[in-house]
């Protein structure tokens, strides 16, 4: 069964490609998925409905939470699966001719429809509440896409959204109910839940929640309004959605649970009453439609009410009749929708006031329609007749089976009224399409391929055959109904029951129904006047009022909480930090001890840094603030040295230097002073939050340090660092081996940041908003033919210093070599990829400072993105390659190579990871220099050029 579902989803995934290759004929190929499933299911369902054991499949997925792929074919799910796949295959075949050749939208449509068919199959076959829910919501989402097939009409978008919201609302209620039910039954498997029959208040609540899901999916009042809107979907979708999929999901769920839970308080009352009310309401609305597709849609609402009342009544004969009606409805409703599609495509309208005289033009279709509509109305010898007769018989016995007394008469009267309306709108449908109407021009339909009407013909033949095969079908459908206790009579499907109450009711329905149709004008005006005078609450209007209320609430809440101001957001976060963990801090304050400074240097550094930090806040000049913050940075490096962290000190000094220059590069463009800040309350609030946060952080430091009693985890790092990591520098081995995943993540952040910097500067939109690409600066030097110490380009820039430039060139290569050395020795001594890369970045920076961007391009004639990408790829590959050799990801190996002259080379593979780090850092430096250095230079030159030109023209 999993294979069948996989087949559907693979077909759906391949559908766009297929459509591109063979156009609309792709539907014929896609139809193979449900058709193959049908062929596979048929013998299994035959065996199981003959009394065989259910066919199960179980694949463990997440057993700890009961989420496993459990599927089962039972008599109920097997019959529904046949309807789903059979109708699905015929609808897909029909799509081949329904869509016009060259329709550009069908690549998406075909995939979604096939996936929808697969989801529906998964839904009826699933034997696990969670799997059921997953498929349930899959059909919801896919139906949203199908209904919104043409999003250009506002009404369509609204219809798709309504279907999504209503059925998702029900679905969520159902999920809660399913979880409660699985918990009460002690198993998430549906068969076991039904067998366990748990009871109690929890179960009653759970069942009610599940029923909310079922009736919203099956479009029962008060959720019925989404279904007529679903006609926004292409007609084949309507055929499938109304007849075999989506709305049948709710019926399936009710039928599945009815044998165990029909006696739960409220079950019968809710389903039978809602079912009958919906049946009558839908029928009345159907009689008032002029669009034949909409007429059918309301007809479906009516029929769904009938089906729910049947399967929900919870007696053996009603369950039997319900399953028979589900099959009959699947056959005739899909036929009728497909007929509407053909009429719509060949005439161009679905309005029954414009359709006239189609009987002569489409004789085959006329016969098909009469058969299907006759089955809907319950005429012999069709399937709808035998099924409906058994339904009447079942409801006639409700009084005996359940002891309902007078109520059972009322229920029977309800479905009789509903059936009368069904006869009337069935007649209206046939008349509406095929009759010759006075005042309407005779339609001249276009010719269509015979394949177009193949699917409705097959379905109509099945309707007749199933009507005649009642005695054969009876035991097969009974295998589901036998789960219920026996009732006053054993139900059967037959054309002749003898002169029974059911037959009399059938006759009444047909006669009164045809009379309603015959006097349709007075009936219509009566309906109008009643609708005008009696104001019943309209579920759709209530829904809209509700949704508008939710919309308003969300606007109010968003407007209140999302102020859009960065200081406010940060302030709120920090105040929460102060209040919540800060309170915990006070309660945890217990026996805190401190010690003094370790050395005078440390104390001096701390005082200097603290003073610099305070002065930074008070500073009004940008440059001053940057220099002061630099003091804290270098001071931090000093503290690292005193602490015994040479790697950190090295990196900190390099980063601080790089950052300082970068700040200056940008600040040269910004105004020298910060914008004025008035001495107001807001400023004091900022200072207060700052001081409170600082105090809180210092408090955390005290408490956390005092609370530390265990030995640090890194005590055990030294030995494996040498043995497995092959390096003496534990910090570096930690970076490239023990915690290499962290480093890999960090490299990705650096790549993103560097790319962000470049993209912010190089895609230039000036104040007029026009985007333009900055000129590429790489390789712009025509004279760079390798002459050492030669200037990058002749320049008249007075700021250039020849001495600085020449010295820079002299030391550049030495510095680059040193950076490589730093990277390589990092495994055993202070250094490593980060420090090496930063040294190389500083070397490039000096070249840029000495000679501008042309000099930088000469020093590094390569795209920064290339360096970044190569670096990240090197690091990632060096992490992946060990897996090919049978190791873990990022595992390092130690290789000793004997080289004849040099002796033994001690190689550790993690050096490649470090090379990746090195390259990424160089790439970052290069991007920063090119963007914030060269890019800004370029813009400055542009502006001065423009100013010169403007000055000249003025």
């Amino acid at each position: 069964m999993i294979a069948l579902l996989t087949l559907h989803f693979l077909a759906a995934a391949g559908a766009p490609v297929l459509v591109r290759a063979v156009g609309r004929r792709a539907f014929l190929v896609l139809a193979l998925a449900p058709a193959a499933s049908f062929a596979w299911l048929l013998p299994h369902v035959g065996r199981i409905t003959d009394g065989g054991a259910p066919h199960e499949q179980h694949v463990a997925w997440i057993p700890t939470i009961g989420l496993d792929l459990d599927f089962v074919i039972t008599p109920l799910s097997g019959v529904l699966a046949l309807v789903v796949t059979g109708v699905g295959a015929l609808v897909l075949v029909y799509c081949t001719w329904y869509f016009r050749p060259g329709d550009t939208e069908i690549w998406r449509f075909s995939g979604v429809l096939t996936a929808f068919a697969g989801s529906m199959l998964g839904l009826v076959l699933s034997d696990n509440v969670y799997v059921l829910y997953i498929f349930w919501e899959l059909t919801t989402v896919l139906s949203f896409l199908l209904i919104g097939h043409n999003p250009e009409r506002r009404a369509n978008r609204r219809a798709a959204l309504n279907a999504l919201l209503v059925t998702t609302f029900g679905g969520l209620a159902m999920l809660v109910g399913l979880v409660m039910l699985a918990d009460a039954a002690g198993s998430p498997r549906l068969q076991e839940i039904v067998a366990a029959r748990p009871s109690g208040t929890t179960v009653t609540v759970a069942i009610m929640l599940i029923l909310v899901g079922a009736i919203s999916k099956s479009a029962l009042a008060p959720f019925h309004f989404w279904l007529p809107g679903a006609m926004a979907a292409p007609t084949p979708v309507s055929a499938y959605l109304h007849a075999a999929a989506m709305v049948k999901a709710g019926i399936f769920l009710v039928a599945l649970l009815a044998p165990a839970f029909a006696d739960v308080p409220g079950w019968r009352a809710m389903l039978v009453v809602l079912g009958i009310v919906t049946m009558i309401l839908g029928g009345l609305r159907a009689l008032r439609q002029y669009d034949v597709k909409l007429l059918l849609a309301y007809g479906t609402v009516s029929q769904l009410g009938f089906l729910i009342a049947m399967v929900g009544a919870g007696t053996r004969s009603a369950a039997f009749a319900g399953l028979a009606l589900v099959c009959a409805h699947g056959l005739f409703k899909s036929t009728l929708f497909l007929v509407v599609g053909i009429v719509d495509r060949s005439v161009g309208t679905r309005d029954l006031r414009e359709l006239s005289g189609m009987r002569q033009a489409m004789p085959v279709l006329f016969v098909v329609t009469v058969v299907a509509a006759g089955s809907m109305a319950g005429l012999p010898p069709l399937f709808g007749f035998t099924a409906k007769e058994s339904g009447f018989a079942a409801f006639a016995d409700l009084g005996d089976d359940l002891g309902w007394g007078g109520w059972s008469v009322l229920a029977l009267a309800g479905i009789v009224v509903g059936s009368i309306l069904t006869v009337a709108y069935s007649a209206r449908f046939v008349w509406g399409i095929f009759a010759v109407k006075p005042g309407a021009a005779i339609c001249m339909p276009k010719q269509f391929s015979p394949g177009f009407q193949a699917s409705p013909v097959v379905l109509a033949v099945l309707t007749v055959a199933a009507g005649l095969a009642g005695p054969w079908l009876t035991p097969r459908l009974m295998s589901y109904a036998e789960a219920m206790p026996g009732g006053a009579h054993e139900p059967e499907l037959t054309l002749w029951h003898g002169f029974s109450l059911a037959l009399a009711l059938s006759v009444v329905c047909v006669v009164v129904g045809l009379a309603l149709f015959w006097w349709r004008k007075p009936v219509a005006s009566f309906q109008h006047s009643v609708a005008d005078r009696v104001r019943v609450p309209d579920a759709e209007r209530i829904y809209y009022v509700l949704m508008r209320g939710i919309d308003r609430l969300s606007v109010e809440v968003t407007g209140l909480t999302q102020r859009g101001s960065l200081p406010i957001y940060l302030g709120v976060i920090l105040v929460v930090l102060i209040l919540v963990p800060g309170t915990a801090l006070i309660t945890a304050w217990d026996d805190v001890t401190v010690r003094g400074a370790d050395s005078r240097i440390q104390l001096a550094a701390a005082v200097l840094m603290g003073g610099a930090a305070i002065l930074t806040v008070r500073s009004r000049r940008r440059l001053r603030a940057v220099l002061l913050v630099g003091i804290t940075g270098y001071g931090t490096a000093l503290l690292f040295v005193a602490h015994g962290a040479p790697d950190l000190a090295l990196t900190q000094i390099l980063v601080e230097t790089f950052l300082l220059v970068t700040f200056v590069l940008v600040l040269r463009r910004l105004p020298p002073f910060f914008s004025d800040r008035p001495f107001n309350i807001a400023r004091w609030v900022r200072v207060a939050i700052g001081v409170a946060t600082g105090t809180a952080v210092a408090g955390f430091a005290l408490v956390a340090a005092n609370a530390r009693t265990a030995r640090p985890v890194s005590d055990g790092f030294a030995e494996p660092a040498v043995e497995y990591g092959g390096g003496d520098n534990i910090v570096n081995v930690t970076l490239v081996d023990i915690r290499a995943w962290d480093t890999l993540g960090e490299l990705s952040v650096l790549v993103v940041a560097a790319t962000g910097v470049a993209s912010l500067i190089f895609l230039i939109t000036d104040r007029s908003g026009r985007p333009r690409r900055a000129e590429p600066t790489i390789g712009s030097d025509p004279g760079g033919n390798g002459r050492w110490l030669r200037s990058g380009r002749p320049s008249t820039d007075a700021r250039r210093s020849v001495v600085f430039e020449v010295v820079t060139r002299l030391i550049f290569h030495t510095v680059m070599l040193f950076s490589i050395y730093l990277m390589l020795v990092g495994h055993n001594l202070p250094g490593g990829g980060f420090a090496g890369g930063l040294v190389a970045g500083l070397a490039l920076m000096i070249r840029y400072l000495a000679g501008g961007r042309a000099e930088l391009d000469e020093a590094a004639p390569i795209d920064a993105g290339m360096v970044l990408g190569t670096g990240l790829a090197t690091a990632a590959l060096s992490g992946l390659i060990p897996t090919l050799l049978g190791g873990g990801v990022l595992q390092s190996a130690i290789v000793d190579v004997h080289v004849p002259v040099l002796g033994t080379l001690h190689l550790v593979t993690s050096v490649f990871f470090d090379i990746g780090v090195y390259l990424v850092v160089i790439g970052l430096a290069l991007d920063v220099l090119r963007s914030l250095g060269g890019g800004i230079d370029h813009q400055i030159e542009d502006e001065s050029d423009r100013a010169t030109v403007e000055g000249a023209t003025a």
Partner: protein, 169 residues
């Protein structure tokens, strides 16, 4: 473990200064505050990582080593600070280029929603259903805005499809 008080106070001062700056509107100040907080947190790691020692390099000395794990964490943090600050600087420059200053403005969308809330406006999605019925063909847009491939293949003008609903009850 007993923490080093001068360093704890230093952490407090640096974080306090950094937070005060981060709450400003000028992007340069925010970035400087960010760097200050970064340095403060580096020192914080130093404080809680245990006593000072020799460099964590095997075979360098027999004295007790400083803890290498927090050092590895701080090392990545330092370099990340570099990357993020560079990005922030590019943002500040860009803001200056577009607006003439580097102050962080309030979010325009949020402001819009706030104004909608004050004026009691909602989206039109759930307005009372209009007369138009859903249909698989046709469009709300005027004909000339439609794409070329949507020329109807039937002989019946498309207007019929879109307009027949107004005769419904």
């Amino acid at each position: 473990m007993t923490p080093n008080l001068p360093l704890v106070i230093l952490v407090g001062v640096m974080v306090a200064a950094g937070v005060t700056l981060v709450l400003e509107r000028s992007l340069t100040r925010i970035l400087i505050g960010f760097v200050l907080i970064g340095n403060g947190v580096s020192v914080l790691f130093l404080v809680v990582s245990g006593p000072a020692g020799t460099a964590p390099i095997v075979g360098l000395s027999d004295e007790p080593m400083s803890d290498p794990l927090p050092q590895a964490m701080v090392l990545t943090a330092i370099v990340i600070t570099l990357g993020v600050t560079a990005f922030g600087l590019a943002l500040a420059y860009r803001a200056w280029q577009l607006t003439g200053h580097d102050d962080v403005q309030d979010d325009v969308e949020d402001d819009l929603i706030r104004r909608r809330a004050e004026q009691d406006e909602t989206s039109v999605t759930f307005d009372e259903a209009d007369a138009a019925l859903p249909d698989e063909e046709g469009s709300d847009a005027p004909i000339e805005h439609r794409e070329v491939h949507e020329v109807p293949a039937t002989t019946v003008p498309e207007a019929l499809d879109a307009d027949h609903e107004d005769e419904l009850p």
